[in-house]
């Protein structure tokens, strides 16, 4: 099942998305970028790139578990981050938490898909964070760190130092875009 799913992801990826490495544009990833994408696709490829029906019937990857994992890590290690969710049920696995986690992962997916123009891809989200949500910028680092921990725990053999470097840089770029309109 895993192999079938992985092949389908790779086929869909090559057909529909950026198949070649990023050009020399504003964002440069080291040569491990394609490996990084495969790690990411293992996590969220279904929710971003495949039809919903397929996702519901065939999803072998525990994306909801991943969302639960990084949310739990964030709220346990950095309880101050809970202050942004006073209206949420923050118990592990809550529907609200899963819903919000999915939004976060989909936004990251959009950034991966548009890696040469993250600013353009996340423009609306950037405005939302600047003018409505106003999450203190320090929290983006905390969230990114917890996402990296969750990836490392879930895919230790894929999460090589090169992939780690690429993802740290990428998530840092995403965070910069989301906070660049703050002032």
């Amino acid at each position: 099942m895993y192999r079938l799913a992985h092949c389908l992801i790779c086929t869909y990826y090559k057909r529909g998305l950026r198949a070649e490495r990023p050009s020399d544009a504003s964002f440069k990833l080291p040569s491990s970028v394609n490996c990084s994408r495969s790690v990411f696709l293992k996590l969220v490829g279904f929710s971003v790139y495949l039809p919903r029906g397929f996702v519901r019937s065939r999803m072998p990857f525990p994306l909801p578990n991943f969302i639960i994992m990084f949310s739990s890590r964030l709220f346990s290690s950095y309880p101050q981050t809970k202050t942004y969710f006073p209206h949420f049920d923050l118990s592990q696995g809550s529907t609200q938490l899963r819903g919000h986690g999915s939004k976060v992962m989909n936004a990251i997916g959009e950034a991966v898909k548009n890696i040469d123009d993250i600013r353009g891809a996340l423009a609306k989200l950037s405005e939302l964070h600047a003018y409505i949500l106003r999450v203190d910028p320090v929290n983006f680092k905390l969230l990114c760190h917890c996402i990296l921990c969750s990836v490392a725990a879930r895919y230790p053999s894929d999460f090589t130092p090169e992939v780690h470097a690429a993802w740290d840089k990428f998530l840092s770029s995403v965070s910069s875009v989301l906070t660049e309109k703050y002032r």
Partner: protein, 147 residues
């Protein structure tokens, strides 16, 4: 003085007992130098750091990584008295090595990621929380004698 609950102490000492200090130390330092290449500025005499492969295979990186994590073991043994434990090391990092304390925080977070990759689901959110507190307090202790 930092207060540690019984559960936090158990999560820290319990995991520490399973850590391969040489391997984790080497990997943590290598990842620091790869993910945050500006940290290489402190290791001019380490030889070839020109690529991730070179860094991972560099014997000086491995040896120093082991030394750093061995020292971390002192923190695990002296949770109630970290400032005193690291007082001399703090002076050394300030006066001789001139290391920006931000680097202690970077290395602490890298160590957490290495532990996550080695222990997988056993590195639970509660475990991470206890270890985040430990690396934060160690970083603070190492910066305490700076002037």
């Amino acid at each position: 003085m930092v207060h540690w609950s019984a559960e936090e102490k158990q999560l820290i000492t319990g995991l520490w007992g399973k850590v391969n200090v040489e391997e984790c130390g080497a990997e943590a330092l290598a990842r620091l130098l790869i993910v945050y290449p500006w940290t290489q500025r402190f290791f001019d005499n380490f030889g070839n750091l020109s690529s991730p492969t070179a860094i991972i295979g560099n014997p000086k990186v491995r040896a120093h990584g082991k030394k750093v994590l061995t020292s971390f073991g002192e923190a695990v043994k002296n949770l109630e008295n970290l400032k005193a434990t690291y007082s001399k090391l703090s002076e050394l990092h300030c006066e001789k090595l001139h290391v920006d304390p931000e680097n202690f925080r970077l290395l602490g977070d890298i160590l957490i990621i290495v532990l996550a990759s080695h222990f997988g689901k056993d590195f639970t959110p509660a475990c991470q929380s206890a270890w985040q507190k430990l690396v934060r307090v160690v970083a603070h202790a190492l910066a305490h004698e700076y002037h």
